[in-house]
Chain length 408, copies 2
Amino acid sequence: MSRKSAEPNDGQKPFRVPVDEIRKRTAKIQRELQQNGIDGLFIAQRVDLFYFSGTAQNGFLYIPAEGQPTLFIKQYYPRAREESGIDHIVEIDSIRDVPRQIAQIYGGMPETLGFELDVLPVNDFNYYTRIFKIKKYVDGSPLIFNLRKIKSDWEIQQMEKTAELTAKTFEYMRDAIEPGLSEMEFAAMAESYARKRGHQGKIRTRHYQTEGYPWHFLSGKNGAMPGLLDAAASGAGTSAAFPVGAGRKKIGINEPIMIDMGMVLNGYHLDETRMFAIESMPNRAMQASQIAIEIHNLVLEKASPGVALDELFEYSVKIAESRGIAESYLGAAGHKVSFIGHGIGLEIVEPQYIARNKKEILQPGMTFALEPKMVFVDEFAAGVESVFVVTHKGARLITKIPVEVFIC
Amino acid sequence: MSRKSAEPNDGQKPFRVPVDEIRKRTAKIQRELQQNGIDGLFIAQRVDLFYFSGTAQNGFLYIPAEGQPTLFIKQYYPRAREESGIDHIVEIDSIRDVPRQIAQIYGGMPETLGFELDVLPVNDFNYYTRIFKIKKYVDGSPLIFNLRKIKSDWEIQQMEKTAELTAKTFEYMRDAIEPGLSEMEFAAMAESYARKRGHQGKIRTRHYQTEGYPWHFLSGKNGAMPGLLDAAASGAGTSAAFPVGAGRKKIGINEPIMIDMGMVLNGYHLDETRMFAIESMPNRAMQASQIAIEIHNLVLEKASPGVALDELFEYSVKIAESRGIAESYLGAAGHKVSFIGHGIGLEIVEPQYIARNKKEILQPGMTFALEPKMVFVDEFAAGVESVFVVTHKGARLITKIPVEVFIC
């Protein structure tokens, strides 16, 4: 396999997923396929394609339960060849070529084929089944997430690089925040800073209805607005057409400002929140922010392998109750969320969830964005969010931003 | 119906879709449903929901073939009530409540129900069909686009407001461009300028595989890189994980820079491209840019009601041939696109397409982004892109940016 580095950039060595990573992932998903009696997995979704092949070029990946995977590339073969740790890459004109190719390469078609049915639209699926003519189709996405939820050491290193960029960006925001800037303007300034340093800008989300964007900057009352997001606070947004995140409201002095920023470097996301205030933080908001930090720290202490996800969630609710903020915790009455954390990696929200009734236990290598938040109706939102990894010794923060309230 | 304006923003009157627009759209889609023997349409996708209801809050819209539509809102009812021109809004806890509500409100369930099968994932569809228990499901998306492709005067006015913002932003870029800025850095500066003035930042795309982002800024050789996009030029992007659009390459003097920027104001998109150069544009790039402008202008002259889409496409190819640039036109050999324009409105790419073999004819109210582009392998990309509306008198530019090469 030859992997040249012809990517035009700033002279840095181009980012590549190590071949060894791709091989380990392939071996693991093949074990899953075998255990579940699935003969092959057909991957179309771009993030899964990148995860299993190292390239996000236009194409499809076929992973048989046994043997070598084949990467089918529509466009652009030279970039895919250069980027991918997959040995066998075939250039195609159209997906119509794929079934015949699979039959040739593997000496026949699989009997049971897995698709990403959590994202594949009905019309696409109907087309695929017409051209593949296979007996049985199953949803391969749970198997994929069974792998993706456990990050390798290399993946944790990538997330740590993203964390370095977010720490710098939060430092920048500490200096740059000024009264009179609109939420959206300040968010754009922070993003400019980060994009100059490698932030890809586009946040990856999986479900077609999920709104993903890096600029969840909410000041004062805008933090207290419920809205379309499954989040404690949705924000005003720029208009009724995009009613989430930063809006046109100007940031003022002496008001609580919740800055929740998504960041992506080389495909790996971080999702972090800190409370900011210019000059001073009002007392109630400061108390709420400190309680959020306390919950965050106590949950982290408890987040060891073997602990159930819902145990962490209920533990946080108990602390909130004991501190007298149950009414505000996790959102306004009638609009509370039932989670305090979500998996994170190549997408900003991934299974698993630290949530009510989630019985799965923490395992080493799982990464979560932990975000205990509260909403005081008609007043403000308060909270904190960090990303951590579960290790054998317990939770370790990936986030490098100080866990404190920023008074600027 | 009461519609208060409680949205916290900069004191401007909040943007609302007029009630009259919603009523006309409802009447039109109901005619389509009746003509196609579909008893009702169930709308979940956010942009369609906004189009037919005026709100993008978390919910679903049911439009029966006859009678009043019902908007079901999970979250957040007060915002939906304030924004929407739909009279009948019902607050729900879950989509599980919807079938029973429909049966009650309409005295029974529809026999044939339309869903947005072009975007609805298989797992969601399977869930919907389980809870709806209806005889026949059809794809409602072609009917939706049959309406959406013809813009009302009010919609054209919205796009004109977006066009004013892009014209200002291109003027800003003319001043702000400097050698040594990276593509991504310069793109982020331009976006900051625009986001301060209302640009929502997130580009709306429909299909789950489409990469939508506003920062398609490609300089020099980066313009000549084929990649995953169905576009003449894909760009370097920030890494193998997001290999499209602006990259880390620094902008230089005397090189062709293709700036293709998406913009959204109040939900309405524009998509425009101009060639920039600092100090001077190399001769071949200047010639290519001028030919692109010539093709753009000649196609516009011909774009009258009754002309077929493919006629415009083939006409552009003929001009390119007669000017001796057939080899570069529409992309590198083997990677050419087969379109020069796409519909645009609430999503950045909408049907119809000015493309090979598209026999549909132009109708008044259709809006297109017209983008004749060319790629010189290993050298650069050149092109131009404007948005126009088809009127009874012919094409009228919505774009307000001068159609010229910008030497800065």
